[in-house]
């Protein structure tokens, strides 16, 4: 089936919606998503939950370790773990 340049599938709409949460969707993608949101309940429901999730994460101000910080922690801990195993 020929792919429409204006009307997108539900899957594509969800993908654009995901990108939009990170400000990575283009204006054209936003437009196509808005068009789909006018008639597709599934996209509308997904979009609403997706936005709610983004808002909750933002409100929570939740934090996590950066990759290199976790690696450093893991290395320190591995050393202690192997020392402990040697003494046992």
């Amino acid at each position: 089936m020929k792919k429409s340049f204006l009307f997108i599938s539900c899957e594509e709409a969800k993908h654009i919606c995901d990108k939009a949460q990170y400000n990575e969707a283009s204006i054209w993608e936003h437009f196509k998503l808005s068009l789909r949101l006018m008639y597709c309940r599934i996209t509308k429901s997904y979009s609403s939950k997706n936005k709610q999730l983004s808002k909750v994460i933002e409100t929570s101000e939740v934090k996590c370790l950066k990759a290199e910080e976790r690696r450093r922690l893991q290395n320190q801990f591995n050393e202690a773990l192997s020392e402990q195993q040697q003494t046992n």
Binding site: K14, H15, D18, K19, Q21, Y22, E24, K49, N50, Q52, L53, S54, V56, I57, T59, S60, E61, V62, K63, C64, L65, K66, A67, E69, R70, R72, L73, Q74, Q76, F77, A80, L81, Q84
Partner: protein, 184 residues
């Protein structure tokens, strides 16, 4: 038979982010938070034989971490903290009385209640994140919490951008469902 078993090999992967989120909101310094987590894991390793298995590993580690945080504040209060308390406006006649206005609480400041809600919300998010496959949780945290761009994550984890978006989609769908059950 104990309800929970202990396996220190998985601690860093499973609990370091949760412990970090708990600590950073209390000490407000990334380096200190990491030191406290490292101390917690080491203390946990030394006292593994005391783990009875009645609580989960995470709860047990948090109880150790709480003591570490209290010790940290005790230490800075006994050394540096007390010496650093300064009284301003003492010698300034011109600004006499200004301090009253300047010390009125800023309405945008967080209240204890806000902090509590955020802390509970953070716990709920981490509870849901723990249910995700490790890779999904890792990509989601890098993209959403750390705010890394797509290229950085793809290079770090050696995945393609389309792969990243598939992972993000799965993670977001599962998280939204989990949060709907537990929070919304």
């Amino acid at each position: 038979m104990p309800k929970h078993v202990i396996d220190p090999n998985k601690w860093v992967n499973l609990y370091s982010d949760y412990l970090f989120n708990y600590t950073i909101s209390r000490v407000n310094d990334r380096d200190i938070a990491q030191d406290l987590i490292s101390d917690t894991f080491l203390a946990g390793l030394k006292s593994m034989k005391n783990f009875k298995g009645e609580a989960s590993e995470r709860t047990w580690l948090i109880s150790i971490l709480k003591r570490k945080i209290i010790d940290y504040y005790r230490k800075i209060n006994s050394n540096k903290g007390k010496a650093e308390i300064r009284m301003s406006y003492i010698n300034s006649e011109e600004s006499e009385g200004d301090w009253l206005e300047e010390r009125v609480a800023d309405p945008s400041d967080k209240t204890a209640e806000d902090t509590l809600v955020n802390s509970e919300l953070g716990d709920a998010i981490y509870d849901c994140l723990e249910k995700l496959p490790q890779k999904q949780a890792e990509v989601f945290k890098m993209k959403t919490i750390l705010g890394y761009d797509t290229e950085t994550i793809c290079n770090e984890l050696e995945i393609t951008p389309s792969n990243l978006w598939v992972i993000i989609h799965r993670a977001r769908t599962a998280l939204a469902e989990c949060m709907e059950e537990n929070w919304f």
